[in-house]
């Protein structure tokens, strides 16, 4: 039933769900950034595996773009984090609750 080609996809789905769970449950902003990276890399893994299964290179080439974007995203995220620390004296999201959502 589950062939060899499915295994990377199952792993990708697992990583994506783990990343999403981390982002939704944890309060430490650094850990949140790690969770976001995990989600993006799960998508990358899925792209590469599909690309191989489809016998094309499109997906694998696109992964390079995504890796670059993920690096830029981390840089922006960390600078926002520094700003958050300067204002609240903590990087935990439960300290920053001045807005009511």
């Amino acid at each position: 039933m589950i062939s060899e080609a499915h295994l990377p996809q199952i792993l990708a789905l697992f990583l994506f769900v783990v990343g999403m769970t981390i982002v939704l449950l944890r309060r430490n902003t650094i850990v949140l950034l790690m969770g976001i990276e995990l989600m993006l890399n799960a998508a990358n893994l899925s792209l590469v595996a599909f690309s191989r299964a489809n016998g094309q290179l499109d997906g694998q080439v696109m992964v390079f773009f995504v890796i670059t974007i993920a690096a830029a995203e981390s840089a922006v995220g960390l600078s926002i984090l520094v700003n958050l620390y300067r204002n609240f004296g903590s990087i935990n999201t439960d300290r920053a609750k001045s807005l009511q959502g």
């Binding site: 996809q9 989600m39 998508a43 599909f50 926002i80 999201t93 920053a96 959502g101």
Partner: protein, 477 residues
Amino acid sequence: MSITELFPYIPFTDDGLFALVPLIILGCGGTLSLMLAPLEKKGELISRLIAMATLLASAITLCLQSEAQQVVGGVLLVGAKTSYLMLALHVVAAFALFLLSGEDKKESLLAESSPLVIYALCGMCLLISSHHLLFQFIAIEIMSLAIYVLVTMRRTHKSSAEAGMKYFILGSIASATFLYGSALIYGSTGFFTLPEIALAPTTVLKTAGFVLVIAGLLFKVGAVPFHGWVPDVYEGSSLPVTGFMAAAVKFAAFTVLANVAAAGFADETGLVIKWILTVAAALTMAWGNFAALTQRGLKRLLAYSSVAHTGYLIVGVIAAGATAGAPVALYLIFYAFATLGAFACLQTLAPGSDDVPIEALAGRGLTHPFTSAGLTLFLFGMAGIPMTAGFIGKYLVFGSGVTSGHVPLVVLGVLTSVAAVYYYLRIVVSLYMKPVESGHPAPALKFGAAVVTLICMATTIYYGLAPANIISFFEKL
């Protein structure tokens, strides 16, 4: 298989290269402006002037191109419609720069705010013309990364830091969801380009991918239940940035949502997408308007009103189905001018970027007759009162909804927009029928805000009275 077969080289035609010129100008101009921004003397002024010149140059090259064509092997589809939408975005960005020039000293914004607006615009233009899921992801990120920084730009304000962090985290989840969804669609169909995806056979995997992609985009446009960031981000960022986001980000995100949904509607996947969008539209219209009724702060009220408008626009997307959807584009243009104008008026009437209660506007109708008249007009436009462009937009969107047989949604839309008149009128009543309160000083009218208010007023009235030209232009495309 040789390397040239694996990576076939697609030579650019002259026309294809010319179609990319606006994007290239925006990218280079933004970078130049960014490099000159830290100059000690006049760095701010120089970077802003370069940003303006970039906008002008890119807008001129946009005006020169007309014929519809595919660029870079079908990644970008450009034509008269995308050129027009991009021009509207250029105008919005120019207005944002005008408004920023009055505000940046007071809010201690850095000089880098002007290049960031240009970068965000570059991402939006790429987003509007792209019909390739991965390039849409890249464009969304170019736009969002610039906007995250713009939101956090009021570095000394706690609300800004918190809003930026919230927006960043939630926005990144949405982007990652979009990316994973496009990976699943690619796995099922073998394509990233939307026209080919629309023709591919329906599978469970493709449907799941579309659900994830649509969920990511619904976040970007701020639809319920993904709207949590909207009021916080609107409250935390400085007024020009809020205006830019409300007008331009929603504009670009909705255009791509309409494109993706149109590809999904082509086969049985469309049933699932339609169901999701219908639920989102109903919830967004109901909750956006209901929450706006209870708000005290002006910025939060406008934030929830923007959520409510998202609901009306989703009705337009559903009604358009697999077609291009002229009503949505027109509504977006009209709404962009009304909302940007409203934020320009607030900049004069309620100084400072911290949220103020509606009562702070009391009696401003007498002390600031021009700006108050402008704000009243824009609020009427958002409420959809006849003779304004907002009415034409609502009329077209709801009309297309009835024609395509979505009567219950349209009834809900009309009922909620009647309720919305109440909270828009609350602001107008405060402007004209309350005595002036002491303790809320009003600054003089600034040049930038006055220009933006005047042009937005002219647009709102002109398209409200004589919409025939622009409607026939969009329906022909």
